[in-house]
């Protein structure tokens, strides 16, 4: 059966996908032009952002066949996720520009980043199981390779950890997808097939299990406990821009995938979705408690993302309508703040050497030695902690809690509140170091690109903190 294809609508996915191929071609023609590949990738990502604009304005759809619903659809929330994914990848790419590496790897790396972005962008708009699975994998597999590309012992160890978890999770996801197809009789996340299936006792059980298996499979990408164990290893091993990618674009892809599933499964009762709430609480608690005693910056950030993933998922644990946008809102705020933190870490790592940046105590007195980076870091940590002056983080937390309370899930709300406290303890630990007197270590000037990124990040945090509405606009 023929489907109508509107290439313009598919452009957000096509641009990075084609760019990924093009980078490889260019490399074949003009080998060893490292910077060129990154700037090309950056340009492609910007292009992708532009391509997303129509979807952000009005819902778009394509791949519609006769008598069947469209298999590609993007509305406001999806577009927001796509934009966020592009932006995060863009920042990661910019951060990666100055990083020295083996020249023959650059093209592959850029290509991998672009294809991972394509996957992250596409998965939210996919409405059929096939595209969903392929894009999810497209957003995962290149990242495994990217982690290993740092070519250090820890990096490949982290990559192995991530790989095995990813493969197992994919196995679970695949079974979940198959079960979904079996139970609903439909290979799409569309229509009321799930709702129909819920009317039948046997099928209902199948649908529930299918959704939960899909959730479990995606949860690995979100680093929800107990699917989180790879995170610290991978973060600690990967080079910092890739870490940023793992912490942001990859999470955005996971949330996009989750949103697609949960939207179609809205008939599922809230008590089942409390499983998600339990996952969220477990992640928050574990992440926070572990981060409390972590001394290594990147592992700290890993635990922090684990905890934050709990907050992202928290609103999804309700079948409430505002749940999805709230989750996305939190995710976006989290992504911005995390990117700023990674940017600062990259800046320091690039200027002073990775060893100097991977211990928390390295940030002692950074407020005085590198005021802009220090302020950016402080504000980003406060946003993550959800405390003013990081107002936007606080507002995001409010947005995340609203659906939970509307659902009267008080145990979830109280648990989240206690975790908010734990989270504050976590970030204050780092924040405290920023005030301390600095050591007398030699400080090299930071790379201009890093400085620009950090400064822009600071600006973004300040602007969004003053006007949180700008970043949470799609909450309505």
């Amino acid at each position: 059966m023929k489907v109508s294809v509107n290439w313009l609508t598919l452009l957000p996915v096509l641009v990075p996908a084609l760019a990924a191929i093009l980078v490889l071609l260019v490399d074949a023609v003009l080998p060893r032009r490292t910077a060129l590949h990154w700037w090309f990738a950056a340009a492609a990502l910007v292009g992708g952002m532009v391509a997303t604009v129509p979807a952000a304005r009005a819902p778009v759809r394509t791949l519609c066949g006769s008598g069947q619903p469209c298999l590609y659809a993007a509305d406001r929330v999806t577009a927001a996720l796509q934009l966020a994914a592009f932006a995060c990848s863009l920042v990661a790419v910019l951060l990666a520009v100055p990083v020295r590496r083996a020249s023959r790897l650059t093209a592959v790396e850029a290509s991998a980043v672009l294809s991972a972005t394509a996957g992250a962008v596409g998965v939210g708009a996919a409405r059929d199981l096939g595209a969903w699975l392929v894009l999810l994998e497209l957003a995962t597999l290149p990242l495994v390779a990217l982690v290993a590309f740092r070519a250090r012992r820890t990096a490949v160890d982290g990559a192995l950890s991530m790989l095995t978890t990813a493969l197992t999770s994919f196995g679970v996801t695949a079974v979940g997808a198959a079960l979904w197809f079996s139970a609903t009789g439909s290979a799409t996340f569309l229509g009321d097939a799930a709702a129909q299936a819920m009317l039948d006792d046997d099928k209902r059980r199948g649908v529930v299990l299918a959704v939960l298996l899909l959730v479990a499979g995606v949860a690995f990408k979100l680093s929800l406990a107990p699917f989180h164990a790879w995170t610290p290893e991978a973060f600690d091993g990967a080079s910092t821009p890739i870490g940023a990618l793992l912490a942001t674009t990859s999470k955005i892809a996971a949330v996009a995938a989750l949103v697609v599933v949960l939207r179609s499964a809205s008939a599922i009762s809230s008590s089942t979705l409390y499983v998600l709430g339990a996952l969220a609480l477990a992640s928050m608690t574990l992440g926070n408690l572990m981060a409390l005693r972590e001394q290594r910056t990147l592992r700290f950030l890993a635990w922090s993302t684990i905890a934050q993933a709990g907050w992202v998922v928290l609103p999804l644990s309700t079948v409430d309508r505002p749940g999805l946008p709230a989750s996305v809102a939190y995710l976006v705020v989290y992504a911005v703040a995390t990117l700023v933190v990674f940017a600062v870490v990259t800046l320091v790592a690039h200027a002073d050497g990775r060893d100097a940046a991977t211990d928390l105590s390295a940030y002692r007195g950074i407020l005085r030695t590198r005021p802009v980076a220090g302020l950016a870091l402080a504000l980003a940590l406060l946003v993550l902690a959800g405390l003013p002056p990081g107002v936007v983080g606080l507002v995001a937390k409010v947005a995340a809690i609203v659906p939970v309370v509307h659902q009267h899930a008080w145990w979830l709300a109280i648990g989240a509140a206690l975790n908010a406290m734990l989270g504050v303890a976590v970030y204050l630990r780092w924040l405290w170091l920023l005030w301390q007197p600095a050591g007398a270590a030699q400080r090299d000037p930071a790379h201009p690109v890093h400085r620009v990124v950090v400064a822009l990040g600071l600006l973004a945090l300040v602007v969004t903190s003053v006007l949180p509405g700008t970043v949470l606009a799609f909450l309505r």
């Binding site: 066949g65 592959v108 290509s111």
Partner: protein, 172 residues
């Protein structure tokens, strides 16, 4: 009990048994070979279920490519040829693994069996032509994406195999 049931039971049992051996054998290479048997008999299952093309692809891709890759990996990593106890985790973990795997299987099986219970059903045999039409019609989008996935997987795998250590001082 129909003839199909019987056929399926036979190849199914074969598949299950070889699967069991694949995950328990102490010989590294045997595991790969049992996997071949398992996946091959699974292709038989597909045939019973009327999916010729899938069975074919299964044999070609899986048995032909995947298992070769696995064997290749074993070769490259200098896997010991004989029996070795080093491939398995500790006994307690294996016991726990049995429990976890069995309960998961029971959970999935229970749901599936209740889903597929009922009288024997007619097998809906799909022609390859119809399948091809759908594949390049309805499913063209994921199909195209799949090509990107394959491409990027191959390229990165290639890059990974050629990975060399960098000087530590460049590590920034």
């Amino acid at each position: 009990m129909t003839a199909y049931d019987l056929c399926f039971a036979i190849v199914g049992l074969l598949s299950a048994a070889s699967g069991l051996l694949a995950v328990t054998t102490k010989h590294l290479t045997h595991a790969a070979l049992w996997l071949v048997v398992c996946l091959g008999s699974l292709a038989g299952c597909y045939l019973v279920l009327g999916a010729e093309l899938v069975a074919l692809v299964q044999v070609l891709v899986y048995v032909g490519a995947v298992v070769v890759l696995v064997l290749f990996a074993m070769m490259v990593t200098r896997a010991p040829i004989g029996r070795s106890t080093e491939h398995d985790t500790s006994l307690t973990q294996r016991a726990a693994a049995v429990v976890v795997a069995a309960s998961t299987a029971v959970l999935v099986g229970a749901v599936l069996v209740s889903l597929f219970s009922g009288p024997a059903r007619r097998i809906d045999v799909a022609g390859t032509h119809a399948l091809a039409t759908e594949l390049f019609g309805t499913w063209v989008w994921p199909f195209e994406l799949l090509s990107l996935l394959l491409l990027i997987a191959v390229v990165t795998a290639l890059a990974l195999t050629r990975l060399r250590s960098e000087a530590p001082e460049d590590d920034r």
